[in-house]
């Protein structure tokens, strides 16, 4: 979905919505190790655009919360910081996944009801 086609109001609401799920999206991609840029590309490729200014501090916060582990590695004469889920992170991701499925089902259900009502009125 392209943000440019949205109205100003909708855009800010969508950003808020996206902000809520970024953590889940990031954690979901870190079963195998990634450095910041590769993770960003990976998310982008799957349709999830994450701002760099958001991603790097987020990775750091998640590491501080012990959800991620990281280590610096030199590759092609350039150091990169690789992140990966910790054991605790895996557990948290599992719980978040369950919760996400529940929320998604509920919201889908609410939106479907809403659609049906709209159709009835029309």
């Amino acid at each position: 979905m392209n943000d440019d086609t949205l109205s100003e109001q909708t855009r800010s609401l969508v950003q808020e919505l996206r902000r809520g799920v970024i953590t889940l999206a990031v954690l979901s991609q870190l079963h195998e190790e990634q450095y910041g840029y590769s993770l960003m590309k990976r998310l982008e490729h799957r349709g999830m655009q994450v701002d760099q200014g958001t991603l790097y501090p987020l990775l750091r916060r998640l590491e501080e919360q012990k959800l991620l582990e990281s280590d610096w590695r030199v590759e092609a004469s350039r150091p990169r910081r690789y992140y990966m889920l910790s054991q605790f992170g895996k557990k948290v991701l599992q719980e978040m996944r369950t919760e996400w499925t529940r929320i998604k089902t509920t919201v889908d259900d609410l939106l479907t009801n809403e659609k049906e009502k709209e159709n009835e009125i029309n």
């Binding site: 450095y35 910041g36 840029y37 590769s38 590309k41 760099q52 200014g53 958001t54 790097y56 501090p57 750091r60 610096w72 350039r78 150091p79 990169r80 910081r81």
Partner: protein
């Protein structure tokens, strides 16, 4: 690549010291990844235009740094309303005292000559400097509170809550942050006054050589200064403890009563000791109040008045201590001392 160094330097001095270099290394690594990915000819050094576009995309240094830092305040939003209130009260008191000084100094004069005009200018100058000092002290006190205040003053959004808390809160003796802040501010001013500006507490008059002040507290007062400083400091410490705690507990009650006992002892010593106020003959004549009493009579009268006031203060402190003991231990409104196991 110099541009990248400049960019990182700009971010560097905006970052909190903790993990600063690590964060910068990671940003550099991210920038290099972006450049490498977009450089059409990896064999060639990237063009400035490419580096610029990458930096533009990464964002202004100020914004990047802000994403990493937790915001810290000199005086945060939770105590800002109290700060403003206390500041207004203290500034009004200081301004009022200065204006009172102006009125007294003008009242003794018959004509409105150049000397009087000078005096007024000096007082206005003094007014600004004392307003700035008061502003500084209040701000320092609140900056201290910002760093020590209990979590109770923050917005407790995530804490568990039960309607029973309302009933318990009613039973607790909560402390008034603004009141305590005023007390601390005035205590600090008082300590500074008796320790460093004792000679300034006195009678002021203006003559050909400028402002003259004749101290009114004599040398008999000096031995009490360390004791008074001590109990005012204890008071400040207790107030800081209360700010941190948010409500009166039994430890605070016991400390309050002990400090009061100490104050009463010092006050009794002052009352029973030699008189501490002396108005000199020269100062009394200069004031020119046309009263038919001598400076000595005035001094004696002031000492008696002071002793009566101190006697009343002792009575007040005894009543206050009984009130606190009653509230804390008999009515049980002051929480028990928490002993960490």
């Amino acid at each position: 690549m110099k541009l990248i160094d400049l960019y990182l330097d700009d971010i560097r001095h905006r970052l909190p010291p903790r993990n600063r270099e690590d964060i910068l290394n990671e940003i550099r690594s991210a920038l290099m990844d972006m450049i490498e990915d977009r450089n059409p000819d990896p064999e060639q050094a990237p063009e400035d235009a490419l580096i610029e576009s990458v930096l533009m995309e990464f964002g202004p240094p100020r914004k990047v740094a802000r994403q990493y830092g937790t915001q810290s305040y000199l005086i945060g939003p939770r105590i800002y309303p109290s700060y403003l209130m206390v500041l207004k009260i203290v500034l009004i008191i200081v301004a009022a005292l200065n204006v009172l000084g102006l009125i007294v100094s003008v009242a003794g004069k018959t004509g409105f000559d150049a000397g009087a005009f000078d005096a007024i200018l000096q007082i206005i100058g003094g007014l600004f400097s004392s307003l700035f000092s008061a502003f500084g002290i209040v701000t320092l006190v609140f900056a201290g509170i910002e760093r020590t205040a209990s979590e109770q003053w923050t917005v407790e959004l995530d804490q568990e809550w039960h309607p029973d808390d309302l009933r318990q809160a009613e039973d607790k003796e909560h402390v008034n942050l603004a009141g305590l802040a005023i007390e601390i501010t005035l205590s600090l001013i008082f300590i500074a006054l008796i320790n460093f500006f004792l000679n300034r507490i006195g009678i002021y008059y203006f003559d050909d050589t400028g402002w003259i002040s004749e101290p009114i507290l004599n040398d008999n007062f000096r031995p009490y200064i360390p004791w008074i400083t001590a109990y005012v400091t204890f008071d400040i410490a207790l107030n800081l403890y209360l700010i941190r705690k948010g409500f009166w507990d039994k430890l605070a009650t016991i400390l309050k009563v002990m400090i009061n006992a100490f104050k009463i002892a010092v006050t009794i010593a002052i009352i029973s000791g030699p008189s501490i106020i002396t108005v000199t003959e020269s100062a009394w004549q200069r004031l020119n109040f046309d009263l038919s009493i001598t400076a000595e009579q005035l001094s004696r009268g002031l000492n008696t008045g002071l002793n009566v006031l101190l006697g009343l203060a002792i009575f007040g402190m005894v009543v206050e201590s009984i009130q606190y003991l009653y509230k804390g231990f008999i009515k049980g409104r002051h929480a028990s001392i928490e002993i960490k196991s």
